[in-house]
Structures are given as structure tokens and as C-alpha cells.
Symmetry: C2
Subunit: 288 residues, 2 copies
């Protein structure tokens, strides 16, 4: 096979991929080649644009480290993450899902229910609680509830780990016999996704803002149920309609209620103002 | 904008991109989003496949350094590079083009015509010569001719820079008044593209070999003419019909002629066997 032109090159690549032993891999690779080639032909990509793309992708990979995942940011800001989410989740009366985002840390520290997980983060206290049930309301005991959120400047612990002195605003809980979870932390703030890398350049070039509305991440697992990755968004946030990563769903917005002080839901006597939020999660039976 | 499903998410991203001030950038980004979303929907990409893709792209970026460009390899092996080449070059009676590849080094060392550029490379001597003209045969004097090629194990200097003791098999020349170039080096060998990275994993998974037929890279520039990036392939090579990067064109295959010794074309008395190759290049007037 030689002498390819802009039409025959696509079939040549597909023919080469045709020997792929794994049928699913063959399907995915073949479709990717068809769509990428169509893109290049549609826009008549120039040599200089190709060279820019190579450099952009290279820098995106090289911006990644243990605390930064620039390719997830790229996927998020191009709506790919929410598209994959929409294809794979939803329906059946369970809690809606949204993007995982780039700030999840494997194996977060486990705390007892009701613990304060703010660590080194400063901000207004928040008491969060609710229940984990199946889709018809049966409580799921001993479900693993991973939680992570930003501080009130909009930074995650891993973005300023030396300032906060270790993992903060991040924990794992196990629900009690009634499926309940609860914890103290601080109220998170809206924040710009990290924009000091290639994705930030892209947003500037596209005249887009990098902001996400304030939210708390939850990832919940229970045997026999589909793992749920979602957020609970702060009602009233100014970015709910323009989330940089397209992640907002009405059903995920909750009221974070302000209190001047007094007795908190867990009986704690609060001398300073604080917030409460209550949100119940419903898990889908595992389809596998 | 909220509550996107797998159909509405695409329009939401396109609407966000709609403010892009540069019209060409807007066109390219919008087309890319449409085609990538179509790909994800077509194959119903799973969460696990998405996570694999994020990791694959990250590792591809992190495999790149000053001497390795894994994203160019990925583009080459998916036929993207040859597609971009086909769209932007060709026709008009000039020499055909092919992939740049990942081994070009900016600003190669300049040598006088006829110099031996093998440096630390071992192999059978090769005398290469020819002319650079416009498309109707008018000689182009003082054209810049960049040359680079592998050694007879198939490695470029930058892949084993300590073994060869510096840049080798790599040079820049300027054509004489008759448009002629000439140099001594060694006959390059067929070689596998570097397969110890993500692209190598892909080739294994697709059951493809990583080999390229032996060739010498040329990049030629002259004021008023389109820059030419091409190869001269060694006739008879076993990989001419299965180049891992789809780069072979019949018009770029030349006879590398074996000589037992004796007087070389430049008058040099050769006591050992050597090869000669002659190839003339025709440049296109610059369209810009």
C-alpha cells in the first residue's frame, strides 16, 4: 500500500487496524480514525495548525502530575466528560451524576460519621448530612461515601497542600444502619478551573470564563449498586447557568442554609454562624 | 444552561465556543467538538474507556522530551500526518512530500557540499547527490538542504547520542550555482519507530508492525518557494508496502546503487564497497 491521497489514506489506516484481535478495541479505533480524518478534511487542517495541535497536546500531557490532570480538564471543558457521563448513567430513579473532575484522590482518609474534615481549610462551618438509599428508598448501610470540596477561596487541598498542611476537605465515611452520613467542614466557594496551562489558553482564545459554581463532590459505593459520582451544588451560585464544564443539573442543587449560631442538627452548640445542607442519594442496582 | 443530555451537550459546547473572536479558530474548534462528540456517541464510550484514553494521552505527552515526540508518532501511525500532508501539498509538478517524522532537529550543523556527515555512525558509505530546481527545471542556487537519516541499525543520532558522540547523519547544505547538492554519509537501514511507549502499546494491541522502510529525510527551502519536506526511500526495501506511518510514494523511491570500490562520482578513490544515490528535487512556487 503506497501513494495515498486524502481519500485513500483513511481506508489504508482502517485496513491496517483490521487485524486488531479485540473486537471492541477494533471498533473504537476504527471509529476514532474515521472521525478524526473527517475532522481534518472538513477544516482542511494546515501544517501550522497540525504542528500547533502536536505542541498543545504535548504540553497538556506534560502539565499533568500527581495533583493536576490537564487532560481531564480538556475533556471537561470540551463537554466530552459530561457526554460520556450522559451515555453511561442516568434514568431509573437514582441520583443524577456529573463529572468526576480532576481533584479526586484515591483512598481518602476515613473518618467517623459527624467528624470535622476541614483540616487546614479556613471558612464558614458547614454541617452536611443525608441518607444513602436504593432507588425506592431502602437505606443502604455501610455504603462508602467519599467527599471532597474546595476551600472558600475555591482551591482544593491538593492545589495548596503546604498551606493547608495535608489533605483537607476530603474524607471517606461509611453510612450507619439507616444509611445516614454526616460531617462538618466548611462551605465551599465557586472557583475557576486551573487556567495556568494549555486548557486556560484555550478558554482565553475562546473567550470563555473558567468558573465552576460552588459544590461538594460525592462518590458513593455499595455492593450490588452502581458507583455514583456526583456533586451537590450550592443554590444561588452565580455560575449555575454557565459552569465551565457543563456539569450542573437542577436535581443536584441544594439549599445551603445560613444559621446565625445556636444548636446544630447534631446537637453541637455553635457560637459562630454556620451553614447546613441536607441531601439524600439514591443508588441504581448494578447492571453488570 | 443546565441539565444536558447526550444530544443537547454538543449544542451547549458549540454555543459556548460561539464567542471565539478568531473565525478560523472558531471553525476548527467547533468542527473538532462535533466530530469528537459524534465519535463518543457512535461507540458509546464507557467510563473505563474514557479513563483509559485520559491515561493514554497523558502518558503520550509525558513520553515526549527533546529527543522524542510521541504525539507525532501517534499522528503518524493513525495516518493523520499523511492526511494533513495530502491536503496541503502535492500537484503542480513538484517533488512529492511525506511525513516530517519526529526526528528533525532545528538548526542542524552546516557543512560544505561534498562533506562526510556520518559523524559517529558506522555503516556502508553512501554518496548522495542531485539537483534542486523549480518545477520546470530551473536550478535553484543557495537553497537550504537539510538532511537526516538513521544509522545501519535503524537508529537516529538523537536516539543514541552518547554512543555516536554528537549529531551524526544530520546536516544542512546550500546548493551551488547549478542547484547541486552532494554529501557522503552511510546507507540508512529500515527501522521500527520507537515502540517502548504508548504508541508501541497501540501497535501491539492492533497487531501492527512498527517498521519503516529505509530512507533519507530531506527538507529543502528556497526564497519564493514552498518548503519541501520529504524522504528518498531505498528501492527494494521489504517494508515499502507496509510503512508503519503510510509515508511511501513511488516517486520517492530511488535506487541506492552498490559499488565494489573504485573512483566515486566526486573523484574520491574508494578502497571499500560503497553506495551511490542520485535524486533531483523540484520546488513549488510559494502560493502565499
Amino acid at each position: 500500500m503506497r501513494n495515498f491521497n486524502e481519500t485513500t489514506i483513511t481506508d489504508a489506516v482502517l485496513e491496517r487496524i483490521d487485524n486488531t484481535p479485540d473486537p471492541r478495541l477494533k471498533q473504537v479505533c476504527s471509529s476514532l480514525v474515521r472521525h478524526l480524518h473527517d475532522f481534518v478534511r472538513d477544516v482542511r487542517l494546515t501544517d501550522a495548525e497540525w504542528a500547533f495541535a502536536i505542541d498543545f497536546l504535548t504540553r497538556t500531557g506534560q502539565k499533568c502530575d500527581g495533583n493536576r490532570q490537564e487532560f481531564i480538564l480538556l475533556s471537561d471543558t470540551l463537554g466530552i466528560s459530561m457526554l460520556v457521563d450522559a451515555i453511561n448513567h442516568g434514568g431509573g430513579g437514582s441520583t443524577e451524576t456529573t463529572v468526576l473532575g480532576p481533584f479526586y484522590v484515591q483512598g481518602p482518609p476515613e473518618y467517623p460519621l459527624g467528624a470535622d474534615i476541614r483540616g487546614g481549610m479556613k471558612g464558614e462551618p458547614l454541617y452536611a448530612s443525608g441518607r444513602v438509599t436504593d432507588s425506592v428508598g431502602k437505606p443502604l448501610a455501610n455504603a462508602i461515601v467519599d467527599v471532597w470540596h474546595s476551600d472558600d477561596d475555591g482551591y482544593y487541598d491538593v492545589q495548596r497542600i503546604e498551606d493547608v498542611g495535608g489533605l483537607s476537605g476530603r474524607a471517606r465515611f461509611r453510612t450507619d444502619a439507616e444509611g445516614r452520613y454526616s460531617f462538618w467542614s466548611i462551605k465551599p466557594a465557586a472557583y475557576p478551573i486551573p487556567y495556568d496551562g494549555p486548557v486556560g489558553e484555550m478558554l482565553v482564545a475562546q473567550k470563555r470564563h473558567p468558573w465552576r459554581p460552588a459544590h461538594v463532590h460525592f462518590m458513593i459505593e455499595a455492593p450490588g449498586y452502581e458507583k455514583l459520582a456526583t456533586h451537590v451544588f450550592v443554590n444561588g451560585d452565580q455560575y449555575l447557568d454557565s459552569d465551565a464544564v457543563f456539569g450542573v443539573k437542577d436535581s443536584l442543587i441544594a439549599n445551603f442554609i445560613h444559621h446565625d449560631g445556636g444548636k446544630a442538627p447534631d446537637g453541637k452548640a455553635m457560637t459562630e454562624p454556620y451553614y447546613t445542607v441536607e441531601y439524600d442519594f439514591k443508588l441504581m442496582p448494578d447492571a453488570r
